[in-house]
């Protein structure tokens, strides 16, 4: 039984960069699944059907359309089995997704059934299936609904016991869990673990972690490594609930352990993560954090306050606004792992229970990136910033509806009885932040929300961008408004980013710049040792204009670096 490599390393950076294991570094996995890249590549083709690739990557023209051609990639031997990659090959769903082109906002598509299957399905992706009636009369109908979901996650034990499924209750999915188990164990038995396969327009990716097998099933065209990152995150959530040693002990005592019992109540957290992945999260895509933009002097005033009121048993202290970090206080020798922070943010802002209670919370949790063997204790207290006007019309889970205006103070200690100590620290912190004006600065910044692209770079052609500072393991982005208002539009934007990200990071590509042209968008990915920048503009924007836009974003970041990123934070 191999221990997952999630133990933290001592670093001085705020965060440790790679949360996920990069599957592409593993040649064996490629051999075992020759067709592993088929789906995402096919979708690359259809989604950006009219790309005119251009590359500036020094000789190797791997950014062009040809870079997707089988001959350039040894992994693509299986391609011929599925026929030629051509535009006609597009799945109806993805053809539909890219069908809306001649509009002002091509990413905003109408959600009428039959017109645009994936977009329509996405609206219903998070609807509850309900359960099979006692007489089984509605089973077939539920199964149809279940199959229509764009994305599934299964977690099962090595002995095949179901642990988690995002959609459908046990009765409905037991057959499918059984099939998954059979397939996985067949390859494991042959000492050639299955990493993934494709069936129709659906990509299956498997991840084995000690006593657990995790499966992602996606029709959204994500790459294997992206899906694997998502599975890693679900696995980290399970460790966060149980800790690795206690989970391993359960299974070594009784291999047929039903893990659902000890995990009871964790479904909401797993659902929150899963739905976040389905909606598409820049944070997960980039394995980076986003910070609230504040002036440098304001942020250092907040940092100083945190250090002033720090209580002796504090390990980490965070001020978090709407999923964005305002400030962090931490010991010099311990960084914060982005994967751990993602779990915390998910618990606070996606799963409703912590916030809904209206009180203060004391939560035991394991931060697997920090140390997967033991529990820490987290004090959480929420503040409202008193703005309820900004409601999104999309069909998000109600729990996350108000997350844009929530401010949380999170104090983490290894002392299980530290509640009142940390509560006292919270009170002092709030009092001092109120007194020195920082609280109202934070609230104002939260209320202002993200700046739009044109606020950042006046007159720019860019509609959206993601900028990741590699050294800080943080990213920044403008508002999704006005071009990417709906959930579907955002999902498409994230899919585009995911493809840019994949093309820059794929094992064989040594790209520095990638320029993509499609009917509905033009896009540019640009990587340097310092940063990764992904930008998207409307259709028919010429390359030079796009590049100019990108340059101006980089100039803006250079000016604003200490505002949009937390450099160092409060360290003790």
């Amino acid at each position: 039984m191999s221990r997952p490599q999630l133990l933290s390393q001592a670093t001085t950076a705020l965060s440790l960069a790679d949360v996920h294991t990069q599957s592409r570094k593993d040649p064996a996995s490629q051999l075992s699944s020759p067709t592993s890249r088929t789906v995402s590549r096919k979708q690359s083709f259809t989604h950006f059907g009219r790309f005119l690739g251009t590359s500036e990557s020094g000789g190797e023209d791997s950014a062009s359309l040809k870079s997707y051609a089988p001959t350039l990639d040894a992994r693509l031997d299986g391609e011929s089995m599925l026929g030629d990659v051509a535009e006609d090959d597009a799945t109806p769903a993805w053809r539909a997704l890219s069908a809306q082109i001649e509009r002002d906002n091509p990413f905003e598509v109408p959600a009428a059934p039959g017109d645009d299957i994936v977009s329509w399905q996405l609206q219903h992706e998070f609807d509850d299936l309900g359960s099979v009636q006692r007489d089984g009369s509605n089973e077939e109908e539920l199964l149809e609904l279940w199959k229509a979901k764009l994305k599934h996650f299964f977690i099962l034990s090595a002995s095949g016991k179901p642990i988690y499924s995002r959609h459908g209750d046990d009765q409905l999915i037991s057959h499918y869990i059984g099939v998954a188990q059979t397939v996985i164990s067949f390859y494991q038995g042959a000492k050639d673990p299955l990493k993934g396969f494709t069936a129709g327009d659906v990509r299956f990716v498997m991840l084995s972690k000690g006593p657990l097998n995790l499966v992602a099933i996606s029709r959204l065209g994500e790459s294997d490594s992206q899906l694997r990152t998502q599975l890693e995150s679900l696995y980290m959530q399970i460790l966060s609930t149980l800790t690795l040693p206690s989970m391993e002990k359960m299974f070594s005592n009784r291999p047929s352990t039903d893990l659902r019992r000890p995990l009871q109540g964790t479904e909401q957290l797993l659902d929150g993560l899963a739905d976040g992945f389905t909606r598409g999260s820049p944070s997960t895509l980039l394995s980076a954090l986003e910070c609230l933009r504040l002036r440098k002097t304001h942020r250092s005033a907040i940092n100083d306050t945190l250090l002033n009121v720090r209580s002796p048993n504090l390990l980490y202290g965070l001020i978090v606004a709407a999923g964005r970090l305002v400030s962090v206080v931490r010991p010099k020798k311990h960084s914060l792992h982005p994967g751990d922070l993602h779990l915390i943010f998910n618990m606070l802002f996606e799963a409703g229970s912590v916030k809904a209670g209206g009180g203060e919370n004391w939560i035991p949790l394991c931060l697997p990136g920090f140390n997967n063997t033991g529990y820490l204790y987290m004090y959480v207290s929420f503040f409202s910033t008193n703005t309820t006007d900004k409601k999104h019309a999309e069909s998000e889970r109600p729990a996350s509806a108000g997350k844009d205006d929530e401010l949380a103070i999170v104090l983490i200690s290894a002392n299980k009885e530290g509640f009142f100590e940390l509560r006292k620290m919270r009170n002092e912190l709030v009092e001092q932040l109120e007194k020195n004006g920082s609280m109202s600065i934070i609230k104002t910044a939260i209320r202002k929300g993200h700046a739009t692209c044109t606020d950042i770079v006046p007159g720019t052609v860019l509609r959206h961008f993601l900028y990741k500072s590699r050294g800080n393991v943080q990213f920044t982005m403008p508002s999704f408004e006005p071009h990417f208002h709906s959930m579907v539009a955002r999902r498409k934007l994230i899919s585009l980013y995911a493809q840019l990200h994949e093309s820059i990071h794929s094992r064989t590509a040594h790209l520095k710049v990638q320029h993509c042209v499609a009917k509905d968008a033009t896009a540019l990915a640009w990587e340097t040792p310092l940063f990764e920048l992904y930008c998207v503009a409307g259709p028919q924007v010429i390359r030079a204009t796009l590049a100019q836009g990108a340059n101006r974003v980089v100039q803006w970041i250079r000016r604003e670096e200490e505002r949009v990123f937390i450099i160092g934070g409060a360290v003790f």
Partner: protein, 256 residues
């Protein structure tokens, strides 16, 4: 930053540490939410760890400030429970009247409290979700046991009761009497009997326990960790403990 109500209300005010225990999904958090905010969320997600809330309860002679630990019911949090019931002056052990196993779990909690919690702890047994048992459950039980449940036999389901009911009023009441527990059937959804539970607890807390709580806690507490927990338990402005006084000031601040 309203300080504790000494100025506005001349009545003596004291803090009572109260813990809620019971199986997962019986409605502990919903009872607290009803009591504290007079609110109800139909699909409340499970509590993680524990939540801390405060609420005042005004009695004719005094004001009780409840400091409530709403614990998560899942098995894996059970080992943390002693931290919450230690030094508690009151406990609400909750079960779900539509789920027989939840009463079994409740009995385990009662036994554990009697064994391990402070000797004077006031325990209330609460059967929640009576709204699922049609009107008769709610109507009858509001009398606090006097109302007839008809030909109910202990342990059995009453035939004219709703199908949903799995724990008979009499059965639970008999058990509560045997163990000298307060007993109520409630509905966090409708609010039925919720404030009555807390008022009854407030009334049942002996005066001596209020005065002596601090001393008892200090005596029992073996070390700093104990003090950290008890520090929030019984803050009163008449405190003489210097150490606690500073804490108390800060805590009163935004507890509500």
């Amino acid at each position: 930053m309203a300080d504790s109500s000494q100025a506005s209300a001349p009545k003596p005010s004291s803090s009572v540490k109260l813990v809620l225990l019971g199986e997962a999904a019986v409605g502990k958090s919903s009872l607290v939410l009803r009591f504290v905010n007079n609110d109800f969320h139909p699909n409340k997600e499970p509590t993680i760890g524990a939540a801390f809330l405060t609420q005042k309860c005004h009695l004719p002679s005094r004001t009780i400030k409840f400091e409530i630990w709403d614990t998560a019911g899942q098995e894996r949090f059970a080992s943390l429970a002693p931290m919450y019931y230690r030094n508690a002056q009151a406990a609400l052990v909750v079960y779900d009247v539509t789920k027989a196993s939840s009463l079994v779990k409740a009995k385990h909690w009662v036994a554990e409290l009697q064994r391990q919690a402070s000797p004077g702890i006031v325990i209330a047994l609460v059967g929640n979700k009576v709204d699922l048992c049609e009107e008769d459950g709610a109507g009858d039980t509001s009398q606090g046991g006097e109302g007839g449940e008809g030909p109910a036999v202990e342990g059995g389901e009453e035939e004219d009761d709703a199908v949903a009911r799995k724990v008979g009023f009499k059965e639970a009441k008999a058990y509560a009497d045997e163990e000298s527990l307060l007993f109520f059937e409630t509905s966090a959804k409708t609010g039925h009997n919720v404030s009555e539970v807390f008022t009854a607890i407030a009334n049942a807390i002996p005066e001596t326990s209020l005065k002596g709580a601090r001393g008892a806690a200090a005596a029992a507490g073996g070390g700093g960790t104990q003090a950290a927990i008890s520090g929030g338990a019984g803050q009163e402005s008449s405190r003489v403990n210097l150490n606690a006084r500073g804490e108390g000031k800060a805590q009163e601040g935004c507890a509500c």
